[in-house]
C-alpha cells in the first residue's frame, strides 16, 4: 500500500477497538514469567553452552599477549576465543567501534575474549583466568578539553543575520549547559543464543530492529543475509541500546561455530556501560535575543558532542531548535569531537532529550529576564502554520499552545510564585517549572502478513518488535478493527526475521509505521476475501465476524483459510510537512533547604501525538519517559575518568536510575487530535516525546524553588549546596 496523500475519512474514524484503552495482550505471559526472553529460551535448541565475554582492561592500545592456557584447562571449558588470534570481524552501517577480533583496543571493555563452558559458573570462572598484557596508548577522553578542536558536522542551519539581531536585541541571554553521558540501563542486558546448522545461523536475541540486525550480521560475519535468522519476540527494554547488533550477538555466533554447538551469552551488567553504546555528553551554548514584548529575534544554539574516530555523529542536541520557536535570525550548529570513549549511539530521543535540557531552561531564563510568565513567552513565540524560515513547509498538526494551556490549567500553574525562592513548606523550598516538548514523528516502510484461519481466527506476522512498548496490543487492535473481529480472535507473532520486514522499534516511528503496515496487510486480505466471495473488499464493512457487502452478508469464515501480505510505503509528500509531536510538561519539586535533596512531587505531561492507539500503554510510555527524565535531570551520569578513559560507575549501584520509590504523582493527558499526514491511522508515536522536556521542567522548578540556576546536569546537590539559603 502506498501512502501518497494525507488520509481521508476511514474506518479508524469510527473505531471500536483502536484508540480504546486495552490491556496488553501479552501481559499475562509477562507477569507469570512465561514470556520467552532471549537468555531463557532453553527450549529453542538443545545442548546450549554458556559464553562469558571478557572486556578490555584499557581504553586504547594493543593487546601484546593473551594467555588463555589456564582458562582452556579449567573445568567445563569447551572453547576459548581470543581476539588477538582472530581476524577482526567486519563492520556494518550500524556500528563504528569494532565488535571483536584483532589486537587493537579502541575502547574500554571492548570484547577481547570469550570462554564457552558447560555451565555459566564455569565459563565465568575460566574467563577470570585469562591473563592479558597491553601496550597502552594515549587517548582523548575529555569532551571539554577537545571541544575547541571539534569540527562542525555538516552545515550550520542559518537564517537572517543572527549576529546583528543578537547585538541589537534589548534583552539577551548567553549561557552554556552541560549534559552528561547516559547509559540505557535497560532491565535486560544484551543477550543472544546462537546456533549453526551448516551455514545457517539462528540467533535468538534481544534486538529492536530485526532486519537491520540480520543485514548487519551478514556484513559483520561475512555471510549471506539469507542464511541468518534473527528472532526476538520479547525484549526487556532497549531504549536505543538494542537498535544495533552488539558483541553478545557477534561473539555468540563466533563462539557457537568454534564450540560446534549452540552458545548463549548475556553481557554481564558491569560491561554494559562501556562495551555497548551510550548517549554522549553535550556542551550546549545558547544565545537568545528578544524584544521587550518577548518576541525572540535571534536564536543561536551550538552543540558540542563526540563520537569514536571511526565514525558516527555526536548527540545532536539542536534537533528541536529550528522547529520549536519562531524567530527571524538563527544560527544552529553541531560540532563532533573524536574521542576514544566507547561508541555513542541512539538513546531514547537522541538529540532532543538533552537538547531540551538546555533550550527549555534557556527559555525559562529569558522569561525571567523579560519579567514574563514562561507560558506567555512561549505563546508569543509560537510559529505560524509553517516551520520558521521554511514557508513551504507546513506543520501537519501542531497544538503546542493547547498543550501548554491545558496543562497550566490542570496543574494549577497560576498558583506559581514567579519570584523564586519564596515558597516554603516546612524544611522544603517548593517550586514549579514547565517546559515545552517536541520530537519528530518519522515513519518507515513496514510490512506484515495476516492470516485468516478457517475458524475466523486472525494471525498477524511481522518482524516488528515489542520492546515493552505495547506493540503486540496495538497491532492486535489494528487487525481486529480492520478485519472486524473481537480482539481475542487475533494472535500476534513478532520479532522473527522469517516474517515480513517492518519498521522495527526506534525513533518513535514504530507504533505509527507498524500499525499502518498491518492495516495494509489487512486491506490486502480483505480484497482477497472479496475476490473469493465476489465482492469489493474495500467497499465492504467487516464487523462482528461478518462482512456486509452491498445487500449481501457473509460470515468471515465463509472465506476459508487464506493469507495476505503487504507493506505500507510512505510517500514523498510527507517531506512537505513537518510532522512532529508536541507536549507541555509541568513539575513541582520540593528542595530540602538544609541538604539540597530534590523531591519531585508532581509531574504532568500533556501530549499532542495524533490518534492515541492505546491510551493505556501510551500512558505507560510517557510515564516511563518522565521517570527517565527524572534520572536525566537529577542523578544519571556516566562519570568519565579521563586518565583511564572509561565510565567508572559501570553498574547500577554507581549509575543511579530512579526507582518506584522516587516517583510520586505523575499524570499524562493526551489531546484528542488526528494527524492525517502521518499514516492511515493518523497516529504518531509518544515514547520519545515523553523524555523531551520533563527534565527541563524539573530544572526550572528547582530554580523556582531555590533561586539557584545550575546548568550542569545532573542537578546533584553538590553543585548548589553552597548557594542554598544560609543556616539560621
Amino acid at each position: 500500500m502506498k501512502f501518497d496523500a494525507p488520509a481521508g475519512k476511514n474506518l479508524f474514524d469510527n473505531a471500536r477497538i483502536v484508540g480504546k484503552s486495552t490491556r496488553r495482550i501479552d501481559g499475562p505471559l509477562k507477569v507469570t514469567g512465561a514470556a520467552p526472553y532471549a537468555y531463557e529460551r532453553h527450549d529453542v535448541v538443545p545442548n546450549q553452552a554458556y559464553g562469558w565475554i571478557v572486556g578490555a582492561g584499557i581504553a586504547k592500545g594493543r593487546i601484546t599477549a593473551m594467555d588463555t592456557s589456564d582458562a582452556e584447562a579449567a573445568p567445563g571449558v569447551i572453547a576459548v576465543l581470543a581476539a588477538p588470534k582472530m581476524q577482526p570481524v567486519g563492520s556494518s552501517n550500524f556500528n563504528y567501534a569494532p565488535l571483536f577480533g584483532g589486537s587493537e583496543v579502541t575502547h574500554y571493555h571492548q570484547a577481547i575474549a570469550c570462554v564457552v563452558a558447560e555451565t555459566f559458573e564455569e565459563a565465568r570462572a575460566a574467563a577470570a583466568m585469562i591473563r592479558t598484557r597491553y601496550d597502552r596508548a594515549e587517548g582523548n577522553f575529555d569532551l571539554e578539553a577537545n571541544k575547541d578542536a571539534a569540527p562542525m558536522s555538516g552545515e550550520p542551519k542559518t537564517r537572517g543575520d543572527f549576529d546583528s539581531a543578537f547585538a541589537s536585541a534589548p534583552v539577551t541571554l548567553d549561557e552554556t549547559y552541560h549534559t552528561p553521558g547516559e547509559s540505557h540501563s535497560m532491565m535486560e542486558p544484551h543477550s543472544t543464543i546462537a546456533s549453526w546448522q551448516g551455514d545457517q545461523l539462528t540467533l535468538w536475541t534481544s534486538n529492536q530492529m530485526i532486519d537491520w540486525a540480520k543485514n548487519a550480521l551478514a556484513s559483520i560475519l561475512g555471510i549471506e543475509a539469507a542464511n541468518i535468522r534473527v528472532d526476538s519476540p520479547y525484549l526487556g527494554g532497549g531504549f536505543g541500546g538494542k537498535l544495533f547488533v552488539r558483541a553478545d550477538a557477534v561473539v555468540a555466533a563466533l563462539a557457537a561455530k568454534e564450540a560446534g554447538r549452540p552458545v548463549k551469552i548475556m553481557l554481564q551488567r558491569p560491561l554494559v556501560a562501556n562495551n555497548t553504546t551510550h548517549r554522549q555528553a553535550t556542551i550546549q551554548r545558547i544565545r537568545l535575543g528578544a524584544q521587550q514584548d518577548g518576541k525572540i529575534t535571534a536564536i543561536a544554539h551550538e552543540n558540542w558532542s563526540y563520537n569514536v574516530p571511526s565514525g558516527g555523529s555526536g548527540e545532536t542536541a539542536t534537533a528541536q531548535t529550528p522547529v520549536l520557536y519562531a524567530g527571524d535570525n538563527r544560527y544552529v550548529a553541531e560540532y563532533c569531537a573524536e574521542l576514544d570513549l566507547p561508541e555513542g549511539n541512539a538513546m531514547r530521543a537522541p538529540g532532543e532529550a538533552p537538547g531540551h535540557l538546555a533550550l527549555e531552561v534557556a527559555i525559562d531564563e529569558l522569561a525571567e529576564k523579560l519579567g514574563m510568565d514562561p507560558i506567555a513567552l512561549r505563546e508569543v513565540n509560537e510559529p505560524g502554520k509553517t516551520v520558521p524560515g521554511q514557508p513551504q513547509k507546513e506543520f501537519s498538526e501542531r497544538n503546542l499552545v493547547r498543550c501548554i494551556k491545558e496543562g497550566a490549567q490542570r496543574f494549577g500553574w497560576s498558583a506559581r510564585n514567579a519570584k523564586p525562592g519564596l515558597v516554603r513548606d516546612g524544611r522544603y523550598l517548593v517550586g514549579m517549572g514547565m517546559a515545552a516538548g517536541f520530537r519528530g514523528s518519522p515513519t518507515m516502510k513496514s510490512g506484515a502478513r495476516v492470516k485468516l484461519a478457517a475458524n475466523g481466527h486472525i494471525t498477524v506476522e511481522t518482524d516488528m518488535t515489542d520492546i515493552g512498548t505495547g506493540s503486540y496490543t496495538i497491532i492486535a487492535q489494528t487487525a481486529a478493527e480492520t478485519m472486524g473481529v473481537p480482539l481475542d480472535h487475533v494472535t500476534v507473532e513478532l520479532g522473527d526475521s522469517l516474517y515480513p520486514v517492518s519498521a522495527g522499534s526506534g525513533g518513535q516511528w514504530g507504533a505509527a509505521s507498524s500499525t499502518a503496515g498491518v492495516y495494509a496487510a489487512c486491506v490486502a486480505l480483505r480484497r482477497k476475501i472479496g475476490e473469493a466471495l465476489g465482492f469489493d473488499g474495500d467497499a465492504a464493512t467487516f464487523a462482528d465476524g461478518n462482512i456486509v457487502a452491498g445487500d449481501a452478508t457473509h460470515a468471515l469464515t465463509d472465506a476459508g483459510a487464506m493469507s495476505a501480505e503487504d507493506t505500507i510505503e510512505f510517500g514523498k509528500f510527507q517531506q512537505d510537512y513537518s510532522i512532529g509531536t508536541y507536549a507541555a510538561h509541568f513539575c513541582e519539586v520540593a528542595v530540602d533547604a538544609y541538604t539540597g535533596e530534590t523531591h519531585v512531587r508532581r509531574m504532568l505531561s500533556v501530549c499532542d501525538s495524533g490518534r492515541i492507539l492505546n491510551p493505556l500503554s501510551a500512558r505507560s510510555q510517557v510515564i516511563g519517559a518522565m521517570v527517565m527524565s527524572v534520572g536525566m535531570a537529577l542523578s544519571e551520569e556516566l562519570a568519565v575518568d579521563p586518565r583511564f578513559g572509561l565510565f567508572v560507575n559501570h553498574d547500577l549501584a554507581g549509575y543511579e536510575v530512579p526507582v518506584h520509590a522516587d516517583i510520586q504523582e505523575q499524570e499524562v493527558v493526551f489531546l484528542d487530535t488526528l494527524d492525517p499526514a502521518v499514516s492511515p491511522l493518523k497516529a504518531k508515536g509518544v515514547g520519545e516525546l515523553g523524555i523531551c522536556g520533563p527534565g527541563a521542567a524539573i530544572a526550572n522548578a528547582i530554580y523556582n524553588a531555590t533561586g539557584i540556576r545550575v546548568r550542569e546536569y545532573p542537578l546533584t546537590l553538590d553543585k548548589y549546596l553552597d548557594r542554598l539559603p544560609a543556616l539560621v
Binding site: T595, G596, H599, D641, V648, D651, A653, L717, D718
Partner: protein, 316 residues
Amino acid sequence: MKAFTYERAKSPAEAAAAVAGREGAKFIAGGTNLLDLMKLEIEAPTHLVDVQDLALDQIEETSDGGLRIGALVSNTALAAHPKVRKDYAVLTRAIVAGASGQLRNKATTAGNLLQRTRCPYFYDPNLPCNKRVPNSGCAAAEGFSRQLAVVGTSDKCIATYPGDMAIAMRVLDAVVETVTPDGKTRTIPMAEFHRLPGDKPWLDNTLGKGELIVSVRLPAPVGGQHFYQKVRDRRSYAFALVSVAAILNDDGTGRVAFGGVAHKPWRVEAAEALLPQGAGAVVAKAFEGASPTEHNKYKITLAERTLAGVIAEARS
C-alpha cells in the same frame, strides 16, 4: 567466581577454628555482600564456613538494661524489635534507611558491620586499588571521588565505610562481642572496630583471622531524641553521601556520628561536646584536619547542613 568448598558450622568455636585453620577460608552469613564480591573475584575465598546454623539470631535484654543482638539477627528483625524501636530509635532509623526490604531480610547484623566499601574503583579489577590488591595504587585519589571519604583518609586509600547501621551503633556506644579461634571471647567497642585506612587499607577492621562475631551489645538506653538522616543522590535507595546519627537531649547536648565521610563511622567526642553551640562548631571540630578532594569537599558543608537540619528538628 572461583570454585570453593563449603561447610556449615555447628558452634561458634568450631566456626572460628574452621576459618582460622584454613588459608583462604571465610565466614558467610546472609551472603548479600560477600557473594557479589565473589562474582567479581574481588573476594575469592577457597572455603566458606556458613554460620547460619549457629543459634545467634536472638535479641536478649542484658542485666544492665541493655540489649544483646545475636550476630545472625536480620536487619529487618532488628529494626522492627519493639525495644529497639522504643529505646534505640536511631538504630531502627539507620537500618531502614539502608539497602532494600529484600536485602534487609537477608542481611545479618554481623555481615552488615563487615560490608565492604562502595568505592567504584574497588569494583573494577582492571584498575589500581590498594584495598583490593595491596600496594597496587589508589585510582580514586585523583579520580572520580565525589562519594568518597573526606576525613581520616590516607594517601593509600580514601574509601568510606558505606553502611548505615554501624553509624547508629557507634553513637549508641555498641560493643562487638567475638569468639576467637582458640575459643576465647573478646569485646571490641565500636569506636575501635573499624580501622582507618592508614598504610594497610586492605584491612577494614580489627578482627583477627577466624575471629567470629557472636553478638553486638548495646548499653542501657540513654534517652534523648533519636535521629538518622541520610542524604543521597537518589532519595529512595543509594549509599549515603553523608549521614548523621544523632541523639539530642533537651538541654542541647547530645551525641553525633557521621556516615559516608570516613573509613569508619565518624564520631569525635570533643566535637559533639560543642553541640550546644550548633552544627557549625561541631562540624568544624569533627572535620578538623580533613583532606577532601575537589570532588567531595561539599561533604563537609553537607555534614554541617544536615546536622543543622537535625538540630532544628529536635528543637521544633
